[in-house]
Amino acid sequence: MRRKQFLILWCLAHFFLISVVCWRDTLSVIGRGYTFLPGFVGTYSRSAESTLSVLLGERLSSSNPLRQLVSVYTYTSGIDAGYGFFAPNVPENYKLVFEIHYPDGRVEYELPRVSSTAAGLRLSTLIDNIGGTPYDELREVMVKMMAYSVWQEHSEATLIRAVLGLVLLPTPNEFQRGIRESYQFTYAYDFRFPGASAGTKQP
C-alpha cells in the first residue's frame, strides 16, 4: 500500500512538471507573438510564463539544489521541453556556405557535409541553431569551429569566408508563378587558419 502511495505521488509530481513545462512553452510562443491571437493576450502570456518558470525553479540561482534537482530530473526523463514541433508555424531555416580563398586568387564554394542522411538531418538542425541563436559571440564561435573543419581539408587556403543566409521559401502561389527558393544574407565571417584568432564579422 505504501509503495502504491509512493507511485501515486511520483506520478502526480511527474505530470505536474510535464504540465508546467508544456504550458510554459505554449505561453512562450503566444507571448512572443508567433500566434494569431491578439497582442494583449501576449502580455498576459508573458506574465503567466514567468510564473511557471518560478515553479520550475528557474528564478533560483543556478547552484540552488532545488533548481539542480528539477533540471536533472526533467532532462533525464525527457520532459524538459514542450512538444510544439513545427508549431505554431514551421520555422525558418538557414543555409551556411563556405567560400574558400586560395593564394592564387581561386575561390571554391563548399557546403558543410556529413556521411549519412541521419547525420545530415542533425547538421541541418545545427545550422538552424546557429542561425537562430541570439548570442553573437556564440554564433561566431560555432561558425568558426565549422570553418576550421573545412580548412583542415583545404589547409592551403588563405581565407575561409562563412556566409550564413536565411532560406526564403516561396508560397504555393509564388511557386506557381515561377518564384523559387532564395536566400537572404544574414551574417558573414572571415577566418584565417592558423593566425588570426577571431573572425571578422560582416553584418
Binding site: L7, Y75, G78, A119, M145
Partner: protein, 303 residues
Amino acid sequence: MLGKRLEQFLFPVRSDRWIAILRFGLGLQVIVYALSLRRDWNYLFAADNQGIISRELTEAILSVKSAFIPRLGWLVTLGGKLGLDEDAMLALGWAALLGTGLFLLAGFLCRPSAIAAWLLHLAARGSGGFVTYGVDSFMTIGLFYLALAPLPDRYSLDALLFKWRLKADYRIGFHQRVLQLHLCFIYFFGGLAKLLGAGWWDGTSMWRALTRPPFNIIPAHALLSAKYLLPFLGIFICLLEFGYPLFIWLRSTSRAWLLLVLLMHIGIAVAMHLQLFALIMVILNLAAFGSIFSGYSLARQRT
C-alpha cells in the same frame, strides 16, 4: 472515494505484453539510431576542433543547466585515466550503445541494458546539444520509462534462459498508464500549439514543412497539384493531435484514432525522411495503446 478511484485508474490489471513491445521497439530504435550515425559519430562528438562543433562547447553549455547531466565527456575522462584516447572512448561509447540495443531487442539482461541504454543515449544527447532534435527527447522518454518499468517480460531471453518471471505486479498497469497519459499530453500540446498558428489553417505550414530542406522529398511540382488539399490536411493533423487525449479513450473511436496517428507518423517518415522520429512515435503508441487492436478494450482495462 476520489483516492480510491484514482488508485483504480492508475493501477489497472495488465499483461506484460506492452513492456515487451516497448523493450523490443526501443532496442530496435537504439540499433537504428546507432547504425545511422556510425560513420559520423566521432565527427559529431569530438572535442578540440576535431569535430563539427567541439563537444567541450556543448558540454560547457550543458553544465550551465546542471553539472550532473550525463555526457560523453565523462566517458572520455574515464578513458584518459585508463590510457585510452578520445577516439577510442567515443567508439567504445557507440559500440556500447549498439550493444545495449541488441540486448534490449533480445531481452537479455533487460534491466541493466535498459538503464545503460538510457544513460548512454542521454550522454550522446547531452554532448550533442546543437545537433539533437525531437527524436532524442522521445527516445529519452521511452528509455526512461523502460528503465523504470517492471522487467523482464515473459518474451525476453531473461525469462527463457533464467526463468526470471514477473509476478502479477501492480506496477505493470501503472507504468503503462503513465506512458498513456504522457502521450496524451504530448499530442494535446502539439495540437494546441499548431492550432494557434495561422499557417496550419490555410495550408501554408503543410507546404513549408514539405518543401523545407532537408525534408523536401516530394517534388514541389507534385505538391502543387494537391495545394487545395493542404489546408484540410493541416487542420486534420491539428485535430488528430489535439483530440488524441479524448478520442483515444473512447471505445467507438480509439482504434480509428490510433490507426490514424500511426498512419500520420508513417506518412511523416515517407514524405519527410524522418524515419527515426516516426519509429519512436510508432513504438510509444503501440506500447501505450496497442492492446486496442487486440480487442482488449480500454474501458475493461480500467476496471
